[in-house]
């Protein structure tokens, strides 16, 4: 399975993104990170630690489960209902600049669901999108503001971002669909 990014690659990419965030959001004071469950959450937490080191400010960090906003539940369900996980946004998002964090940007449907969910929580000043990998094949007009790496893929491939907090290892790999058995599409990965 071809390795796209190793542990060091991911670390450098996230550090670069943290610097870009500070650059683009001069006053870090009103930003907050919201990770999309599941792998967006540990990535958001890592970014928060980097932002603290760079700017000296604690950036509020939350977790968003977008399952209830998916557009493929009632009508295209092929398997069991996705397991619901809790959403934890322990701060008001009103008038904040929200950095939405996900591992892979693919069709854009997950991001669409996350935007809908976020807007139900309040009225942020802006929402910016952070992804570790952009693999293309967008089905909706959505674009990331910060990208760790652009990885051109075919639709028959799958991209997995693994994080040590959940997977025991930091790496990004590409596989053919069905090749690495057992990997059900995570909530953030719209099924092709």
């Amino acid at each position: 399975m071809p390795l796209v990014m190793d542990e060091g690659g991911i670390r450098r990419a996230l550090l670069r993104i943290a610097h870009e965030i500070v650059e683009r959001n001069r006053r870090v004071g009103d930003i907050a990170l919201v990770g999309i469950r599941r792998r967006g959450v540990p990535i958001a937490q890592r970014l928060a630690r980097s932002l603290l080191e760079i700017s000296g400010r604690e950036v509020p960090t939350g977790a968003l489960d977008i399952t209830l906003y998916r557009d493929d539940l009632m009508w295209h369900a092929v398997g069991p209902q996705p397991v619901l996980r809790s959403t934890e946004i322990p701060f008001s998002i009103d008038d904040r600049r929200i950095l939405l964090v996900d591992d892979v940007l693919y069709t854009g449907r997950t991001t669409r669901a996350a935007l809908d969910a976020l807007i139900d929580f309040g009225r942020p000043r802006s929402i910016q999108l952070v992804v570790v990998v952009d693999r293309g094949h967008r089905e909706l007009p959505i674009k990331a503001d910060y990208v760790g790496k652009n990885v051109p893929t075919s639709a028959r491939q799958s991209v997995q971002v693994k994080v040590s907090e959940l997977d025991g290892v930091d790496e990004v790999v590409i596989g053919e669909i069905g090749e690495h058995g057992g990997h059900a599409p995570a909530a953030g990965e719209a099924a092709p």
């Binding site: 209830l68 906003y69 539940l73 009632m74 209902q81 619901l84 809790s86 809908d116 929580f121």
Partner: protein, 331 residues
């Protein structure tokens, strides 16, 4: 503002993991649910409870789905709870109540099912005075059927919300002494709770007058007593069942006064329970019959939490059953 406790700590389930899905497209009986399926519903309800704490308490999950609340026996509490749950999930809801509906005049349940079928609902939530009515409906239509109380048989979502409430307070079920007191014989809430709480590992005691004891109780794996004091001794949870005045006609007990004196829960009697005991009631309560007001309104009462949790649990059930293809077979 939006803090959802992640209650899925290992302590809550130990080694037992929640199931990945429900096996049946219907929810007819608590007895049909495995322990893993129960945990899946309770875990999903945690996430649903967080939705209920938001400013906008609505998610688009069941947008475009039609849910019929077919309440052929009067019920405000359960119907309202289901209706809120459906609305929070953005389903289109349709309420049909017995007595008021010309649709149902002189019509059999099977005919009603066929009539509904023509409107292609995705789910039917049925409350009915006859035991087994939900089984009959499930056999007669394609929609997923949720039992919202059938006769003296079962009321599975009530038992699920009771279990959810108990878990919030006690974080576990194994070894928990749950005393269920009241009109045992006629209670569908009791039957569902016995099945559900026993499956989760709780030590269930049931208590009531001998005249209202369950025939064949020994086979339910619960302990039965007519002594309220024994039932309350070191109880972690006390659950009261409604005692209806009309039961006096069947020679079940002589008067409300005598019932209250023998089985009514008072603060005094509750001292036998554990200090951190919680008191539950599925409602509606008969104050001064099965429960004294100071207990019902006191600090150990979680009765209103039960009502709030009912919405979350019903959202979870609706969500999980929605995952079935409508044409998929049960089981």
């Amino acid at each position: 503002m939006n803090v959802a406790r992640d209650a899925r700590q290992p302590a809550a389930g130990g080694q037992v993991q929640p199931a990945a899905r429900l096996r049946s497209k219907h929810l007819l009986s608590a007895g049909d649910l495995s322990r893993e399926e129960i945990l899946l519903i309770l875990d999903s309800a945690e996430a649903m409870k967080e939705v209920g704490a938001r400013r906008i308490k609505k998610v688009p999950t069941l947008r475009g789905a039609t849910v019929v609340n077919l309440f052929l026996e009067p019920s405000t509490r359960t119907r309202t709870s289901f209706e809120i749950a459906e609305k929070r999930l953005s389903a289109d809801t349709l309420n049909i109540a017995g007595g008021t509906s010309s649709l149902l005049k002189g019509e059999t349940l099977v005919d009603t099912a066929r009539t509904l079928e023509a409107m292609a609902p995705d789910m039917v939530v049925l409350r009915h005075a006859a035991s087994g009515a939900c089984h009959l409906l499930a056999g007669a239509c394609d929609a997923r059927v949720i039992n919202a109380g059938d006769g003296m048989h079962e009321h599975p979502t009530q038992a699920l919300l009771d279990a959810f409430t108990i878990r919030e307070h006690k974080t576990r079920f194994e070894g928990l002494k749950v005393a269920i007191v009241g009109d045992l014989l006629h209670s569908r809430v009791l039957r569902s709770n016995m099945l559900l709480l026993s499956a989760l590992g709780a030590d269930v005691w049931i208590c009531g007058p001998r005249t209202l004891m369950l025939p064949g109780v020994e086979r339910f794996g619960v302990r039965a007593t007519t002594s309220l004091d024994r039932a309350l001794e070191d109880a972690d949870v006390v659950m009261l069942l409604r005692v209806q005045a009309e039961r006096m006609q069947g020679h079940f007990f002589p008067s409300r006064r005598e019932y209250f004196a023998t089985f009514g829960l008072t603060a005094e009697r509750l001292r036998r329970a554990r200090p951190d005991v919680i008191v539950m009631h599925p409602g509606p309560m008969n104050r001064g019959v099965e429960i004294a007001s100071d207990v019902a309104d006191g600090p150990v009462s979680v009765i209103l939490e039960q009502v709030a949790n009912g919405v979350a649990v019903r959202m979870a059930v609706l969500y999980l059953l929605a995952g079935f293809d409508a044409n998929e077979g049960a089981e």
